[in-house]
Symmetry: C2
Subunit: 252 residues, 2 copies
DNA sequence: CGACATATTGATGGTAGTCAAACCTGGTGG
DNA sequence: CCACCAGGTTTGACTACCATCAATATGTCG
């Protein structure tokens, strides 16, 4: 099984670890809330790589979390060009609309085999800020975080060179992986193909390849088949004009 | 109808007309709600061109509507490069965060002199879906609309050529102006300089100029100093792979 | 092993950036 | 009234970044 090899290589992780770490990084959760998060992750389903999680125009009925594996939100143009809006990493929430909206404005596609858990019940809890302030704030922050990533993405695409774009994407992913327990400076998962990076960054796969080569030559990163190591995070961040953390979020 | 003469002259619109038309295009409003919208617009303040409406990181305390004039949301990079995320047109709401978030992730800048009205009270009404379903749905839809514009913007920047990007932007603006009473096919306001278009589309002002020239040569558009006429909307939309209207929004 | 996807490298061309100069146009003030 | 100026537009010449096409590795899985 692909899932086994992937897990054996890295640390053996509990099914709930990514979601738990992710939410905890967004707001402090009560014992009860943490317990609910763990319970939620107990029931998960496997989805193969390359499958559609939902499609543009769908009614969003099934809020969910990614427990393992990667996915992306994207749009496919009439002539087959693809634009990836953002990547979904383990621990990320998806499939719930902003502020009452229930229609998907993008499609979502798995990039690797993934494990998915429904978070219906967490989302309902988050709707009661008085009883569950932690979860409530975490869900608001999760959405805000996604909005910020999208704005950063616009800046990458509009203003940065291929070199800067790639640096920016890699630091961003590195930081996000850090939040779910992968220490920066070590080898972390990187299952994206160069074509996927190209579809996200508005570059051809060939040019992604050449640019990665340059980053490697300069000893800023090190690449393996499905993992990566950021050697000089600060240098990469400087190249990319990368900003982290998110602007502080107000409490409701 | 008073609106007709106003439209023909291109000026002398009622202060509330743009906001009223905009909200009405998003949801049907009750008489009471419409009356409140008009009252809200009775108190407005003038802001000069080039002023900051709010700044990245600010706490959003003053939800407002643009009654006249244009503005934009943007970010300025460390080295002075600017990326415009979207344009605010008369009738547009701004300065209220998504889903409980109260921090501005972008700055907002006026591009012309504008008139602004606080919509605090409308926003509060929108928070009571049972009493004010129309306003409530309109505010949700307004936010969803902005999200869709941002996603479209990513596609423009990532996948389209300068020619396509400009066509896409112009059709989008043309449609939005249509919603607030400027008939497509006639001369409509276009106060953007070529530099502003470039900052939005990730192009140099010089290249915007050349590309506009091409669109004019092909008799797709006609440009005056501060106004524009889209001669062949369908052709422009085809070039840009433009999609309208928004995906239908579900009722709450 | 053979089929297939992905990565790598080279050669070539087109799209769009940069630099620079000229040209409007509307506003200001002598 | 005209000179002047600032900001915006237009055009040309040159450059560079990145796409495309093509061919070869490398790797993975049935």
């Amino acid at each position: 099984m692909a899932a086994d090899t992937a897990r054996n290589r890295g640390l053996r992780r509990k099914p709930y670890e990514a979601l738990w770490r992710h939410l905890a990084s967004l707001a402090s959760l009560s014992d009860q809330e943490m317990s609910m998060v763990r319970q939620t992750c107990a029931v998960a389903s496997e989805v193969a790589a390359g499958a559609e999680l939902y499609s543009e125009g769908d009614v969003l009925r099934k809020p969910a979390a990614l427990l393992s594996g990667w996915a992306c939100r994207l749009r496919v143009l009439a002539d087959g060009r693809r634009q990836i809006f953002d990547f979904l990493l383990p621990g990320d929430l998806f499939g719930y609309g902003a502020a009452g909206n229930r229609i998907a404005f993008t499609s979502a596609l798995t990039l690797t085999a993934v494990r998915v858990a429904s978070v219906d019940c967490l989302l309902e809890m988050a709707g009661e800020p008085d009883r569950f302030p932690g979860l409530s704030r975490a869900f608001v922050a999760a959405r805000a975080r996604q909005d910020v990533f999208l704005l950063n993405h616009v800046v990458r695409l509009g203003q940065q060179t291929a070199y800067e774009r790639l640096a920016h994407l890699l630091v961003e992913l590195s930081h996000r992986l850090g939040e779910i327990g992968h220490e920066t400076g070590t080898f972390v998962p990187m299952p994206l193909t160069q074509e996927m990076m190209g579809d996200a960054l508005g570059l051809s796969a060939v040019h992604v390849n050449r640019t990665l080569k340059q980053l490697r030559r300069e000893r800023l990163i090190e690449l393996r088949a499905t993992s990566m190591r950021v050697i000089k995070p600060a240098a990469l961040a400087a190249i990319a004009d990368f900003r982290w953390p998110l602007p502080a979020l107000s409490s409701p």
